[in-house]
C-alpha cells in the first residue's frame, strides 16, 4: 500500500459553485483546489455556511437544485466529474465513490431489513447473484464490527442503536469497494463514546483497504483524531491547507487560530472555591419512569429515566450534568423546571418542595426556575416579535406591558443584541443571536435558578465560545445559579464548578470539575474522558 501512497485519487481544481439568485452570497465555493490521495484521510473543516460540503456534493453529483458549478474541474480517475451526465454519475456513485451521511436513521429505509439494504447496493449495479449478495452483506457487517451480525442482517434499522446504524451505512458505502469514501459529518449525531468507535472504524478500514477518504466535519477534535491532511474553509474559500500536524500545531491563518482557540480547551479546569452556603436546590431521591401504553397483545414498556437521583446546588454555583443520550440528564432538567412531573422524591428550591405542585399553584412558582433551550430555531415562536417573546413572562406574572417591553429592551442590550431587536422577528437572527434571545428570556423573570439544556450544542464552535463567555459573564454579574446539562465534557469543564456524571438514569459520579478530569473514580467517567476526540493530539496551546 505504501508504494501507492502518493497517487492522487481526486483532484479538485479551481472549483467555483454558484448559489441561486437571492442567496446570501453569489458563490457557495470559490476557487477551491485540493487533492485527495490514496491512503490518506483529508479533513475538510469549517463552520456552518462555509461551503465545506459543497465540493463533496459536486463530486457526488448531488448538488441541490439551482446550485451549479461555474468554473474549474473535478478530476476523478481521469474524467472530469462536472461534465458527466446524471446517468454516468449514478454509475460512479457507490461503485467507485462511497458516501456516509450524518444521520444514519434517515440514510436507511425504515421498512427494509438491513441485509436487504446492503444487497440492494449490489443489485443497483447489477452485481452478484441474490445469494452471493446476502453472503457479501454478512461479510461486510462482520467487517464493520456489528455485534451479532447474523442477527443484525435480519434486523430493521429501528432495532439498532445509532452507532450500529452508522456501521450499517458504512458497510453499504464500502460494499463495492470504492476507491474514494466521502464522509459528511458521520459522527455528529452520535454520542462521544460511539463517535470514538466509529472514528476508529473509519481509520481502520481506510488503512486496511488503502482507500482515500474525504472527511467533512466542523469539529477540530475529530480532525485531530483522524486527519492526515486538513483543509480549513470559510465563506466558501480555503483559508488554510496542509498536513494535520502543521495546521493544528502551528496554524498560520488568523481564522484557524481563532477556531482552534475556540475549541473548549482540553486543559484541566482550574480549581474553584467550593461554595459552602446552604443549598439553593436540593434534589432528594427523585424518580421518573416513562411508560408506553401497551396494546392488547403487547406488554407496556417501562423506561427508568431517573433512578433515585439526589444532588444539591448552592446559590451562585454552576453544576454540570454530563451524560450520553438516554442517561436521563435531560429528564432531570425537565423535572427541575417542572415540564415533567416526577413520580416521587423531593425537589426543594430554597425549602419549597416543587415536585408535587400542580395547576395554578405550580404556575405561580414557575418564575423561580427558568430554562435555556437547546434548539435556537424551535425555542422562539416564529410569529412573535422578539421583545414580546421576552416580555411575555413578566406580563403573565402581572407586570404592565409597556414596562415589560422596556425591560425586554434592556435585557437584549445586556446579552449584546441592542434594544432595537425588540421589534424584530426571530427569523431575522442567526442561531447564536437566537440563543442570546433565549438567555434574555430566561433572565426576564429574575429566576433563582436557570437550567440550560444543551444550550450551546447546536452552535458552531466560535459562536459556542461567545455564548459560553456571555453565560460566564452573566453568572459573575448576576450571581446566577446554573444547572448546565450537556453531552460535551469539554464544554462542561469550561463553565461548571461541579460536574455530575449520569448513566442509565443514575448518578455515576460527582465532584469538582478538577477532580472529575484528573482523578475520575468510575470506569464510565474514564471512558467518557478517553472518548473526547483530539484529547491527546498535538493541538496548539489555547489562549
Amino acid at each position: 500500500m505504501s508504494d501507492t501512497a502518493t497517487e492522487t485519487v481526486l483532484s479538485i481544481r479551481q472549483l467555483s459553485v454558484a448559489l441561486p439568485k437571492g442567496a446570501d452570497r453569489a458563490l457557495a465555493v470559490e476557487d477551491v483546489s485540493y487533492d485527495v490521495k490514496r491512503g490518506e484521510i483529508m479533513c475538510v473543516v469549517g463552520e456552518s455556511g462555509s461551503g465545506k460540503s459543497m465540493a463533496a456534493n459536486t463530486v457526488m453529483g448531488l448538488l441541490p437544485k439551482g446550485v451549479r458549478p461555474v468554473q474549474g474541474e473535478v478530476i476523478f480517475e481521469g474524467q472530469n466529474l462536472i461534465t458527466l451526465t446524471e446517468k454516468q454519475h449514478r454509475a460512479l456513485r457507490g461503485l467507485k465513490i462511497g458516501m456516509i451521511f450524518q444521520e444514519p436513521m434517515t440514510a436507511l429505509n425504515p421498512l427494509m431489513r438491513v441485509g436487504a439494504q446492503i444487497a440492494e447496493v449490489f443489485e443497483a449495479h447489477g452485481k452478484l447473484t441474490p445469494k452471493q449478495r446476502q453472503a457479501r452483506a454478512l461479510e461486510l457487517l462482520i467487517e464493520v464490527g456489528i455485534p451479532q451480525p447474523e442477527k443484525a442482517i435480519r434486523a430493521y434499522p429501528f432495532e439498532l442503536s445509532g452507532g450500529q446504524r452508522q456501521r450499517v451505512v458504512i458497510a453499504m458505502a464500502l460494499a463495492l469497494e470504492p476507491v474514494l469514501l466521502i464522509a459528511d459529518e458521520p459522527t455528529t449525531a452520535l454520542d462521544v463514546t460511539t463517535q470514538a468507535q466509529i472514528l476508529e472504524l473509519i481509520r481502520d478500514l481506510q488503512r486496511r483497504r488503502g482507500m482515500a477518504v474525504m472527511f467533512i466535519t466542523h469539529d477540530f477534535g475529530v480532525v485531530a483524531e483522524i486527519a492526515n491532511r486538513v483543509c480549513v474553509m470559510r465563506h466558501g474559500q480555503i483559508v488554510e491547507i496542509g498536513e494535520a500536524s502543521e495546521v493544528l500545531g502551528n496554524p498560520q491563518n488568523e481564522y484557524t487560530q481563532a477556531l482552534i482557540a475556540a475549541i473548549p480547551s482540553n486543559a484541566v479546569p482550574p480549581h474553584r472555591e467550593a461554595n459552602t452556603t446552604a443549598p439553593l436546590l436540593d434534589i432528594k431521591r427523585l424518580n421518573k419512569v416513562f411508560r408506553s401504553r401497551g396494546g392488547w397483545f403487547k406488554a407496556s414498556r417501562e423506561v427508568r429515566a431517573l433512578d433515585d437521583v439526589s444532588l444539591t446546588l448552592a446559590r451562585g454555583e454552576t453544576v454540570g450534568i454530563v451524560g450520553e443520550s438516554g442517561s436521563g440528564k435531560s429528564t432531570l432538567g425537565r423535572c427541575v423546571v417542572r415540564l415533567e412531573h416526577p413520580d416521587d422524591g423531593e425537589l426543594l428550591l430554597d425549602g419549597v418542595n416543587l415536585s408535587q405542585l400542580k395547576g395554578d399553584a405550580l404556575r405561580r412558582e414557575r418564575h423561580r426556575v427558568q430554562m435555556i433551550f437547546q434548539d435556537p430555531y424551535a425555542s422562539l415562536n416564529p410569529r412573535t416579535r422578539v421583545g414580546m417573546a421576552i416580555a411575555q413572562g413578566p406580563i403573565a406574572n402581572g407586570t404592565p406591558k409597556a414596562q415589560a417591553l422596556k425591560q425586554a429592551g434592556e435585557l437584549l442590550d445586556m446579552v449584546g443584541l441592542g434594544a432595537s431587536a425588540v421589534e424584530r422577528y426571530p427569523h431575522e437572527f442567526s442561531g447564536g443571536q437566537r440563543q442570546r434571545i433565549g438567555i434574555a428570556r430566561a433572565l426576564a423573570l429574575n429566576p433563582e435558578l436557570i437550567v440550560a439544556d444543551e444550550a450551546v450544542s447546536a452552535l458552531d464552535v466560535s459562536i459556542q465560545a461567545q455564548v459560553l463567555e456571555l453565560l460566564e459573564e452573566l453568572k459573575q454579574r448576576l450571581s446566577l445559579s446554573l444547572l448546565f446539562i450537556t453531552h460535551d465534557l469539554r464544554v462542561a469543564a469550561q463553565i461548571c464548578d461541579r460536574i455530575v456524571v449520569m448513566q442509565h438514569g443514575r448518578i455515576v459520579e460527582q465532584g469538582s470539575a478538577e477532580q472529575i478530569f484528573l482523578h475520575p473514580r468510575e470506569a464510565y467517567t474514564r471512558s467518557l474522558l478517553e472518548a473526547i476526540p483530539g484529547r491527546d493530539a498535538p493541538v496548539a496551546a489555547t489562549a
Binding site: 414557575r366 426556575v369 415562536n381 413572562g393
Partner: protein, 277 residues
C-alpha cells in the same frame, strides 16, 4: 409595512380580492338593476343569451331572467358560504384546539363526539336537518355548518398536537402563561395557514351543498340562489347550456377568489414571508 401593503404584494391575492369585491357589488346592486323579483316570468322561456335587449344572459325554462337570478343569487350564495363556514370554524377550532392541547381523556371524548358526526354521510345529515327545521336560509346555514365542522376540528387538533411540544410552547409554560393564553397566543397563530386554506375550500363546498339542497327542493323557497339555478337547469343542459353555465362560472370565480384571498391573508400574516419579498 402596513398589513394591506403586505397583502397586496401577492398579485394573486389582489386579483382574488378584486373578483370578490365585484361579486359583492353584484349582490348589492341587484335590487337597483333588477328591481323586480328574480322569480317573475318576464319573457318566453329558453331565450339564448344576447338575443334580446334587457336579457343579456337569456331566460330559463320558465321565462325568468337569468341575469337577474345571477345577481340576486350572489347575495344568498355568498351569505350561505361565508356564514356557514364561520359557524363551522367557531365550532371546529375550539374543539380541535382543546382536544389537541390537553390530549388524554378530554381528547378521547371530543374525538368520539366528532367521529359520531363524521360517520353519518354529510349530505344525508344536511337533508335531515333542513327537513326537520323547515327550509329557510337560517336552517340551511345551520345544517351546512353542522355537517362541515368535523374536518376543521380534526385539522386543528392535529396541528395542536404537533405544536404543543415545541420548545417555544414549553418556554411559554415555563414563564407561567395560562393555558388559554398559550392556546390563543402561542399555538393558534401558527395553525392559521392550514385553517385559512381549509376555510376557503369550505366556502366553496358550502355553496355547492346549498345547490344540492335546492336541487332536491330543500332550498329557501323565497330566495334565488346559484345552486337552485344550476339544479333547475340540469335537465335541460343540452338544449340550454347557458342556464347552468353562468351560475357555474359564478361559483367557480367565487371559490377561486376566496382561495386567492386566503393565500394572500396567509402570506400577510406570516412574518417571515412578508419581509423577505
Amino acid at each position: 409595512m402596513s398589513f394591506f401593503a403586505r397583502f397586496a404584494q401577492n398579485r394573486g391575492a389582489l386579483v382574488g380580492l378584486i373578483i370578490l369585491l365585484m361579486i359583492i357589488a353584484m349582490a348589492i346592486l341587484a335590487p337597483l338593476l333588477f328591481p323586480e323579483s328574480p322569480w317573475r316570468m318576464v319573457q318566453r322561456p329558453f331565450l339564448p343569451p344576447m338575443s334580446q335587449d334587457g336579457f343579456p344572459l337569456g331566460t330559463d325554462t320558465m321565462g325568468r331572467n337569468v341575469a337577474a337570478g345571477l345577481m340576486h343569487g350572489a347575495w344568498v350564495s355568498l351569505l350561505i358560504g361565508l356564514v356557514s363556514t364561520s359557524v363551522a370554524l367557531l365550532i371546529g377550532v375550539p374543539l380541535g384546539a382543546i382536544a389537541g392541547y390537553y390530549g388524554g381523556l378530554i381528547d378521547d371524548i371530543l374525538m368520539r363526539f366528532t367521529e359520531f358526526f363524521q360517520t353519518i354521510p354529510n349530505f344525508a345529515l344536511a337533508i335531515v336537518l333542513v327537513a326537520i327545521m323547515q327550509p329557510s336560509v337560517t336552517s340551511i346555514v345551520l345544517a351546512i355548518a353542522l355537517v362541515s365542522w368535523p374536518p376543521v376540528a380534526r385539522l386543528v387538533r392535529a396541528e395542536f398536537m404537533s405544536l404543543r411540544h415545541r420548545e417555544y410552547v414549553e418556554a411559554a409554560r415555563l414563564v407561567g402563561q395560562t393555558n388559554s393564553t398559550i392556546i390563543l397566543r402561542q399555538i393558534l397563530p401558527n395553525t392559521l395557514s392550514p385553517i385559512i386554506v381549509l376555510a376557503s375550500l369550505m366556502v366553496a363546498t358550502a355553496i355547492l351543498l346549498e345547490s344540492s339542497l335546492s336541487f332536491l327542493g330543500l332550498g329557501d323557497p323565497n330566495v334565488m340562489s346559484w345552486g337552485y339555478m344550476i339544479g333547475a337547469a340540469r335537465t335541460v343542459i343540452r338544449q340550454a347550456w347557458w342556464l347552468s353555465f353562468f351560475p357555474g362560472v359564478a361559483i367557480l370565480l367565487t371559490v377561486l377568489a376566496l382561495n386567492l384571498v386566503g393565500e394572500g391573508l396567509d402570506d400577510a400574516l406570516n412574518p417571515k414571508l412578508s419581509r423577505e419579498r
